[in-house]
């Protein structure tokens, strides 16, 4: 098992090797237009230990809507795998995907949106 897959499995609790690349996750995903690789391709890169997956936009575009999770025929929590990819970056102390000081229109936004962004995008 490669080091990257081990890390993803440790964080997500999901056995990424059970993915057989059917593409159900990507077919159901509502955000693929904005992604640079498809969710199933991200899993393929993890299986191969290809760390370039950590530099892709895909995990950050995932909005944790869990359509992939409820549809995966292998029972994988695909959203949790995306979270693991984000977490690996975020756990590099000091890494922030976004700058919370640059939120526009902060008074108008729902509090829960801002809290969620802080959780998902900053360490």
């Amino acid at each position: 098992m490669n080091e990257l897959a081990m890390k993803v499995i440790e964080i997500s609790g999901q056995n990424v090797y059970s993915c057989y690349q059917c593409g159900c996750c990507s077919a159901g995903c509502m955000f693929t237009d904005e992604m640079d690789i498809l969710p199933n391709q991200a899993i393929a890169l993890i299986q191969r230990g290809d760390r370039s997956v950590l530099e892709k936009e895909t995990p950050w575009i995932c909005a944790s809507c869990f359509v992939c999770t409820v549809r995966c025929p292998r029972g994988l929590d695909v959203a949790a795998i995306m979270e693991a990819l984000r977490e690996i970056k975020i756990r590099e102390r000091g890494f922030n995907k976004v700058d919370l000081k640059k939120i526009e229109d902060i008074e108008r936004l729902p509090q829960i949106a801002i809290t969620a962004v802080a959780h998902k995008f900053t360490w």
Partner: protein, 294 residues
Amino acid sequence: MIRMKVLYYPGCSLRGNYQEFEKSTIESCRILGVELIEIPRWTCCGVNPSLATDNMMRHLGAIRSLIKAREKGLEIGSKTVVAACSMCYNVLKKVNLTLREDPDKLETVNSFLDEEPDYIPELRVVHLLTLLKELGFENIQRRIVNPLRGLRVAPYYGCVLLRPDRPKGIPIDDPVKPTIFEDLLRSLGAEPVEYPFKTECCGNYHVVFRPDIVEMRSKKIVSSAKHGGADIIVSSCPLCLYNLNRGNEALAEEERVPVIFFTQLLSLAMGGSSYLPKDLENLIMCRIRAETNR
């Protein structure tokens, strides 16, 4: 009349920008004979729960609230925690189920939280819709003084009422073909609108840094409801409501559909206040009167 007390978790949105949601929730429950006992000193639920299984840190806010809920529950004789906000429901439910099913995580949490008493996961977390279903939609129907006849309502489930499906027990209804919202709307006399986007994602927190994604999603959802003939969309999530309205802003005026909280219709139908802006309440009342006079 039903008389019961349940533990109530308001959450930040109901206390902040979306007070009409809380007011209509409390009023509806009062009419139905349900007293909502607020959890003392509740804290933020954490919104989108961390999906990392090796770290309980981001669940602690929810756990602290559950500990306080349990204490209060012993005092009032209730083990049921109700949340009206979809996000709060999802987080509290997930965390409660996780601690119930995983003794190791429960031990980790309890040994870390040394200022609070240990959490004993014996509470039951429910969404307000589930509580209403348990009270019986037929009992709600009996209390309707203002039937919403002729009003075509598109229920918007969004994600977190129905997903994820693990730990088992999070979805409040069938995740693919839910009907709980429709059943409630029928009991109010309204006509639920069927449309294919009712369980699709509005774009969630992306509204903060990628509002373009939210607009793209929300326009599709609102247009789909409009296409189904909706007069109005109801939601139980403050973020969905905000996001769908961002979609509305990006649509031409005749393409828009107003979005409100489902409790506002519930309260209105039972003779309470809707806490809606006057123009929106007028729109609803006109629709109902037109149908009644027909």
